[in-house]
Subunit: 184 residues, 2 copies
Amino acid sequence: MAILGFLRDFPLHGYDLKNRVASLAGHVRPVADGTLYPTIKKLEDAQCLTRRTAPGSVAAPRHMLEITQTGTDQLRRWLRDPEPGFITDDNKWYVLLAFLHHLENPREQALVLARRREFLDQPAQLFFDADGTPVPPERLDSPFRKGLMQIHRSTNLTEIDWLDRQIADLNQRAGYAVRQRDGD
Amino acid sequence: MAILGFLRDFPLHGYDLKNRVASLAGHVRPVADGTLYPTIKKLEDAQCLTRRTAPGSVAAPRHMLEITQTGTDQLRRWLRDPEPGFITDDNKWYVLLAFLHHLENPREQALVLARRREFLDQPAQLFFDADGTPVPPERLDSPFRKGLMQIHRSTNLTEIDWLDRQIADLNQRAGYAVRQRDGD
DNA sequence: TAGATATACATCGACGTCGAGGTTAAAAAA
DNA sequence: TTTTTTAACCTCGACGTCGATGTATATCTA
């Protein structure tokens, strides 16, 4: 998703892509060559991108990568109907968010945000007693577990706040677009 | 780490462990059987835990798992000197935090928190222009990328705040412990 | 002019995770 | 009584990621 998402902005070669993916995914978590290049090849085989050899501006020749219509469609499908992990795993979610603008319909964007919003709504129960009853933060012995739950709660509220504002905004724009189209 | 960490609290059987790990790791991200049971076997082979068959309280017989001294030592090594990913990957970091209390020395605990603190200090540059210059949040077109960076910044500040208080607290306690030991 | 460095691409084996499938056993529902 | 459900455990193949290794090229440095 990150590869196609970045290529949707402008053509890039593998090396450049590698650095961009690395600084996005998490925050400068390196992506191994052994992951990137086979994935590029897979996307090329699936006709999601094309490759043009260009002289290297600094060193060895580059393979400039460009996204195709097939690739754009694939990217939009991934964004419109993301796998569960992209909603529940923070790292993946942030990657998705970084490219959600490529899904051009505000209503569809709002639907994706709503899925995340719904996920964040369910109260997190992280720790349990020996007998299986959930332990509330104030009854935890470990200050680290206490902090973990505090931070978790606080960051969740921050994101929920943003999500609500964003969803309202998108729905309003979608409504406006509909009224425009209907000549209202 | 999660397996040994939970067993350090009290003995558990695989199924119970599975649910606890699932609700901790991320937030109810299921852990596949094909991941859990081979890992338990690996830890058993490494003498990190022992297995006693007990009658199932509800159904099929359980394998009650208990951590050994070797396992405790291993857990403490992982906590004391975590791999880079445990500092930089939020999911892994939260798992580590959930068990950091098993590292009994407050000075060692503070050192781990300091590593995370140091990581959070470096300003995140997530997006770049076509020519490679970093794009500040206010110049981003996508509201999602803008929100992503806002949320990232805000949650970072929250955690930094907690880390600083916690580190100060631990160092004070460590100092006090030293003064106690020295009869001061 | 020789070596080091950074760019740029590629492959391969080791390892971890997942998901599907299967087994046993007790309790609950049909 | 049979079926279904849930608990509890296990294995296997597919797949993805990593890290090591290797190659070529242009620039910078000794």
